[in-house]
Symmetry: C2
Subunit: 305 residues, 2 copies
C-alpha cells in the first residue's frame, strides 16, 4: 500500500528525447495526459537554446543552465554576456539564500567593482523593467485571469505579462533578476538572483528580469538558507557557495556543453499541454481546477545531442 | 556599493518579541512599512499555538513546528494526533523531495500498516477535502481576485478559499496535506507532504489539508532532491532523512517546547499588515503591485516564553 501523494509530471530529458519523434497518437476516448502530449511533440515543437544566449553556472555540485532572454532587458543582457566573457563571477560566490524567496550571487564585499573589471561597459544601465508591447515582441497569451497583470503568457517559454502598453518577464520559479539598490539605474548586472519559492510577483516591474534557469534549479533551491539580516545572507564568508565559473555556453568546447531544447510556446501542441495542466487528466485528480497560473506551468525541457 | 536585490521582510521571532508591547506609533506622513506594523502589534493581536494541536517534527538538523487545523479535516487531524501519540512516525523517514513541489514523509515500504499500529482507528477516513461554509468556520476574506477560487482568505492564519458553498485550506508554501492513492478515501493520514515551492493550487479540493508549518520550513526546503520516478522519491533508502520523532507538543516537557504566537488574521492590524504587502511602502519599490495573492502573504510568527 504505497501512498505517494500528489504526482507532478516532470519533463525529464532522457525519457522525452526517445519519444520525440513519435507520431501523434490516434484520438483517444480520454483526454491525453501531459506526459502523452509531450511525448507526441514533433521536432519542430521544440526550440534549441542558442549557446550565445546560454550561461553555465558551475558549482561544485554541478552545472546550472541559464538562458538569457532574446527579447527583454537588452542592455542588461549584453552587460551580463560581457561579464561572463571576462570571467567576472569566477571565484565569487552565492552569498544569499532566503527561504521561499531568492538565491543570489555577486560581489557583496565589493572586491570587483564592475567598472574596473569592464572599463568599456557603459554605466549606468537603463532601467529595463518593462518593454512597450510591439509586433516583434512575442507573447503567447493565456486566457486565465491573473491578479497582478491584465494578461499573462509566455515569451520563449519564459513567463511574461502585459498591462496597458507594457510587457515584462514575470517572477516565477527560476526567473533571473538583476539586484539593485533603491535607485532605478543602480543595478549593474553583476548581482543576480533567482526565484526559489512562491512567485514574488510584487517584484515585477521593479527590476530587470534577464532570463531563466532551465536546468539545475534543485542545486540552488536545496542550498542551506542564510541567517543574516532577515535577507538570507550567509552570516560568514565561509558559508558562501563558491562559483567555479559562470561562462557563456558558446565559450565552452562543444563536447562539454549541455544542449537543451525547450518546448515552443507558439504551437497548437503547447496549447494542448497548457490545457492538460489547467484540467489534469490523470486519474488521481478527482477535482479539476479549471484554471492555471502562469507560474504553475513548468515548460518542458529536454536534453539533445 | 552593496546590491542586495529585493528585500523581503521576514517576521523573525526574537526581534519582534521585543517590539510587541510597543504602543501604536503616531501617525506618520508616509504609510507604515510591514516591519513597523508588526512592531506595533499588541499582545491581543497574536494567537498562541495550542500544544494539543501542535506537532514537533524532529530531524537531526532541528525542529519543525506544525500546527494542526482546529477547523478542517477533523477526522484526519484526530488520526494524526493519535499516530503522534503512538510514536508512529518515529524512526521512519522523509522519503520524497520533489523540487518546486513537495517534501513527503511516511511509510513507503509499508513496514508499519496504520491499522496494525492503531487497531482502534476507524478506517477509511472520510474525504475531508472541503467543508461547507458555516458561521462557526472562520474566514478572513481578502478583496483580491483569485483565479482558482471565488474568494481567498485566512482561517487561523492558514490560507483558505471559498467557492459556492465550500471552503478549504489552500496549498500555499508550508501547507500540510495527506497523501492518498487514486481513491478519495485512501489516505490514512500517515503519508504527509508539505508544499516547498510554487503553490500547487491544482491540489486544492483533491486532498485533506490538515495544517501548516510555522517554523523550520527551511530545514525541509533545503534537503537534497530525490531523483526517482519523476516524483522526487529518494532512489535508495540510505538517502532518506530519518525522523527522530514526531510528537505532540503537549507530550513534550514544557521546558523543551517551542512556544510560538501567530499574528491573528481577524484584527484591524492584520488588514493593515496585508495592505503593506499589497502595496509595499519600502523605498526600494518603485512600482507598487496593487494586488496580493493569498500565497504571497507570510503571516508573522514569533517566539514567546
Amino acid at each position: 500500500m504505497k501512498r505517494f501523494g500528489p504526482a507532478l509530471v516532470v519533463a525529464a530529458g532522457a525519457a522525452l528525447a526517445t519519444a520525440a519523434l513519435a507520431a501523434d497518437p490516434a484520438p483517444a476516448a480520454k483526454p491525453l495526459s501531459t506526459a502523452d502530449i509531450i511525448a507526441s511533440a514533433r521536432p519542430a515543437d521544440w526550440r534549441r537554446l542558442d549557446p550565445a544566449n546560454t550561461l553555465y553556472l558551475e558549482l561544485a555540485s554541478g552545472r546550472i543552465v541559464i538562458e538569457l532572454s532574446r527579447f527583454y532587458a537588452p542592455a542588461h543582457v549584453a552587460a551580463i554576456r560581457k561579464m561572463a566573457e571576462a570571467h567576472y563571477w569566477d571565484g565569487l560566490a552565492i552569498n544569499r539564500l532566503q527561504d521561499n524567496f531568492v538565491a543570489q550571487w555577486g560581489d557583496p564585499d565589493n572586491v570587483r567593482p564592475v567598472q574596473k573589471a569592464l572599463p568599456d561597459l557603459k554605466l549606468p544601465l537603463p532601467p529595463e523593467f518593462t518593454r512597450a508591447i510591439a509586433k516583434d515582441l512575442p507573447f503567447t497569451a493565456l486566457p486565465d485571469a491573473d491578479g497582478w497583470a491584465s494578461k499573462t503568457g509566455f515569451t520563449d517559454g519564459m513567463a511574461a505579462a502585459q498591462t496597458g502598453n507594457e510587457q515584462w518577464l514575470v517572477h516565477c520559479y527560476g526567473a533571473i533578476g538583476v539586484g539593485r539598490d533603491n535607485e532605478a539605474d543602480s543595478g549593474h548586472g553583476n548581482e543576480l538572483y533567482v526565484v526559489i519559492g512562491q512567485s514574488p510577483r510584487q517584484l515585477d516591474g521593479n527590476v530587470a528580469v534577464v532570463g531563466k534557469i532551465w536546468r539545475g534549479m534543485e542545486l540552488l533551491a536545496s542550498l542551506p538558507r542564510g541567517t543574516d539580516g532577515g535577507l538570507g545572507l550567509y552570516a560568514t564568508p565561509g558559508q558562501r557557495v563558491p562559483i567555479k565559473a559562470l561562462r557563456l555556453a558558446s565559450s565552452v568546447p562543444e563536447g562539454e556543453r549541455t544542449n537543451l531544447e525547450v518546448l515552443r510556446d507558439d504551437t497548437p501542441l503547447f496549447a494542448r499541454f497548457v490545457e492538460s495542466r489547467r484540467n489534469r487528466t490523470e486519474d488521481w485528480y478527482l477535482h479539476k481546477a479549471g484554471h492555471i497560473d502562469v507560474c504553475n506551468i513548468n515548460v518542458p525541457v529536454r536534453d539533445v545531442k
